[in-house]
């Protein structure tokens, strides 16, 4: 038996044909891979309609909106170019500073709280508990519910004669019970509670994915070396899930800066503009009050703020992961 196959020779046995290497020589040309099914006829320019849609709806429409920020359009009828007047008005208006402060407060507050609580829940449900699958589903459910619908239910809960105050009065804490949504100090906190409640599940899911990639052996080794629970978390677990932290905080921040549904449903920006944010102001100015140009200028400003934070966020977290 020879140890190679020459072209033209017939394999003596099935085994020879499979096992013996072919001798280098004239080879059959490797056939080009045939694409399966419908893609047999695909070309790159088939993506063109989709690209046009994205460019048209996202970029062109946004640019037109940006153009209107330099006009005095009311939303109907004619308009004139007014240059930077709208932007000057924004910075001269003291209520806009309040709106900016509320925007930042809600964004950072919801990111920090929902991430810390989400991480805590993810750590607790990572392994060990038998009921963890059911608990994971329960914690994630608020995320998939409509923000508007849940905000109306929360509004009922916070109502002066709603369940929260009933419980407080039942416990004898009558002086603590108040109209939460109409209280100038507490209204913004009610919004924060609703935001965090809805977003804990989202952060939890991201952190669970990150934690699943952390090998148990490292933590066990740390435990054997005498590290306490907190030391294990801070020095072993947390560095391993840095990418998850980056993703969760970026997404949370960008969404937190433009939150709208919950505020309009709970307080409508009230009481007396105490919970107005840039997003609610954009809606009110553009559509309710007919100052479309001014509203567009506010929207442009909000876009730039979100962009700035997103870029800073990416730099900070990308820089950290490069150290590893």
């Amino acid at each position: 038996m020879s140890t190679t196959f020459r072209a033209g020779e017939v394999a003596a046995t099935e085994t020879e044909r499979v096992v013996l290497p072919r001798r280098a020589g004239r080879r059959h040309p490797v056939p080009a891979p045939r694409r399966k099914g419908l893609l047999k006829f695909g070309y790159w320019w088939w993506a063109l309609p989709g690209i046009l849609f994205v460019v048209g709806i996202h970029y062109v429409a946004t640019s037109i909106g940006g153009f209107f920020s330099f006009t005095n359009w009311t939303g109907i009828g004619a308009f004139e170019l007014v240059g930077l007047d709208n932007f000057v008005r924004i910075f001269q208006d003291p209520t806009k500073l309040g709106a900016l402060w509320n925007t930042l407060f809600l964004a950072f507050g919801s990111v920090i709280l929902s991430n810390i609580l989400g991480l805590g829940v993810a750590l607790g449900l990572n392994r060990g508990l038998k009921s963890r699958y059911i608990l994971r589903t329960l914690f994630f459910m608020p995320v998939v519910l409509s923000p508007l619908a849940t905000s109306y239910i929360w509004k009922f809960i916070f109502d002066f004669n709603g369940p929260l105050n009933l419980i407080l009065r039942g416990l004898g804490l009558d002086t603590v019970a108040r109209a939460w949504i109409a209280d100038p100090t507490w209204a913004i906190w009610t919004i924060l509670v609703v935001l965090v409640w809805q977003n804990i599940g989202f952060a939890m899911v991201i952190y669970m994915a990150g934690l699943a990639a952390v090998p148990v052996e490292i933590e066990e080794a740390a435990a054997i070396d005498g590290a306490s629970l907190w030391q294990r978390f801070w020095h072993v677990t947390l560095p391993s899930i840095r990418p998850a932290v980056a993703i969760a905080t970026t997404l949370g921040l960008v969404n937190g800066l433009r939150v709208f549904d919950q505020i309009m449903a709970l307080t409508g920006g009230g009481p007396a503009a105490a919970t107005e944010t840039l997003a609610t102001q954009v809606y009110k100015q553009s559509f309710a009050l007919g100052n479309f140009g001014y509203g567009a200028a506010l929207a442009l400003l909000l876009t730039l703020i979100i962009l700035a934070f997103a870029v800073v966020q990416q730099r900070v977290t990308a820089g950290r992961s490069k150290e590893d």
Partner: protein, 431 residues
């Protein structure tokens, strides 16, 4: 991929294309139908605002017209009230608004007809409409001498009170002085009830309450206040009447006339309060009284009552036309639409409107005998002219009313002062 999976994916892919096409076509035809009702020259579309799912008076009128004119088809488009102005503006801007559209006089609202007419969206109406315009308020209905909205109703803005609830709590007659009013407030507050149900978190109710009180403190003394403000000869900050009005609201709150938690109340606080008898009255449009009366027990006996004037003042209420009918300038069915709008001005149509909505019809209210209706207590004020137009219809832009609404909320929570509110209203006024 297994053989079965591959077939399933292929099949799903093949299905996706016709499914998407069907969705796109359904979406296109949905928006197209508002502008194209059957192609028949006598068919047209009619958009109006609605706050609930009951049959609107406009629906009733459309049905009456179709019954009286066989061959005419009216496609009604009831549209939610809370975003009505924004909705019709978008439709006008996009060119697919209905042929006949309900609007509001003036420019103090997103559905105001003056800005819509100035933008060229409305068709000038004829003599019938012009003849119905209440004298003295032409600027609300006309632009450059042409009338763009035909008034339909005559709404009275005062306190809608359940005399049944009042009677059950020992109040046999409606108070006519502020001292009597405050005394009644204290009596009710002792039982955990209130004289007035206020939806402090709902801008429209906060604003209407302020305007209802302003009728007595501002416009009773100085009916020309709005014109003077427009001329610049006075301001809100200088007006003692407006300062009095806002002070009255603070006093009402401090003396327990509003329900507990009023600063956070929504419209449901009013509906529940009036229907269940925990509040006697509320500043709501008279038309809403008919709706709430249907939900309340018959003993409730709702009446439109004037808010007591300040000491030495005279009684005054708000009364004006707040709903107008306009025709779309881009309509292709203008003849049919005009015939319908003219029919709305006839006595029969006005009678039907009154029966269906409880709102007083604009042309016939002077001829109706109101002594047995909810309006019996304000008939004298109306007949001797002690009323003024709803102020925010006359103001030049929505921001002034918004400043008043926000200001009232701020006074209820203690976030702002009366001077601050008046200054904000002045700052929002643009000429």
């Amino acid at each position: 991929m297994t053989q079965r999976r591959r077939r399933v994916t292929r099949f799903a892919g093949l299905l996706a294309l016709p499914a998407t096409a069907a969705l796109v076509l359904a979406g296109c035809s949905g928006s197209g139908s508002t502008g194209d009702a059957g192609g028949d020259a006598d068919s047209f579309t009619f958009t109006f605002a609605t706050s609930n799912n009951l049959e609107s008076p406009y629906e009733t009128l459309a049905k009456e017209y179709m019954a009286a004119n066989p061959g005419v088809t009216i496609t009604t488009n009831p549209t939610p009230n809370d975003k009505y102005g924004e909705t019709i503006r978008t439709q006008f801007q996009a060119g697919n608004a209905s042929d006949v559209v309900q609007t509001t006089p003036g420019s103090g609202d997103a559905r105001g007809l003056v800005p819509l007419a100035e933008a060229g969206f409305l068709e000038p109406l004829g003599e019938t409409a012009t003849s119905l315009v209440p004298s003295g308020s032409e600027t609300l209905f006309e632009v450059d001498g042409e009338t763009y909205g035909q008034p339909l109703d005559f709404t009275i803005g005062a306190v809608v009170a359940s005399m049944g609830t009042a009677g059950m709590n020992g109040i046999t007659t409606w108070p006519t002085t502020m001292d009597d009013f405050y005394a009644d407030c204290e009596k009710l507050a002792g039982d955990g009830k209130s004289m007035i149900a206020l939806a402090g978190a709902a801008g429209p109710n906060a604003g209407l309450t302020a305007q209802g009180i302003a009728a007595t403190r501002v416009y009773a003394e100085d009916p020309e206040f709005n014109t003077e403000r427009a001329d610049g000869s006075t301001t809100f900050a200088e007006s003692e009447g407006w300062a009095d009005t806002l002070q009255t609201i603070v006093d009402l709150k401090d003396r327990g006339c509003f329900q507990q938690g009023a600063e956070g109340g929504g419209f449901d606080a009013i509906t529940n309060g009036l229907a269940q008898g925990t509040s006697v009255g509320s500043f709501i449009p008279s038309g809403s009284a008919v709706e709430i009366a249907a939900a309340a027990p018959a003993e409730a006996d709702f009446k439109v009552q004037p808010f007591p004037a300040a000491d030495g003042g005279k009684p005054y209420v708000l009364a004006s036309s707040n709903y107008t009918i306009s025709i779309n300038a881009k309509s292709t069915k203008k003849e049919a639409a005009t015939a319908f709008v003219e029919w709305l001005a006839t006595p029969e149509a006005q009678e039907k409107y009154y029966e269906a909505s409880g709102l007083l019809p604009i042309s016939e209210y002077k001829n109706l005998d109101l002594s047995d209706t909810i309006y019996s207590e304000v008939v004298t004020d109306i007949t001797n002219g002690s009323y003024t137009t709803l102020p925010n219809n006359v103001w030049p832009n929505p921001a002034v009313y918004e400043a008043l609404q926000v200001g009232v909320q701020g006074l209820l929570t203690g976030q702002t002062s009366i001077d601050q509110v008046l200054q904000n209203m002045d700052a929002a006024w643009t000429d």
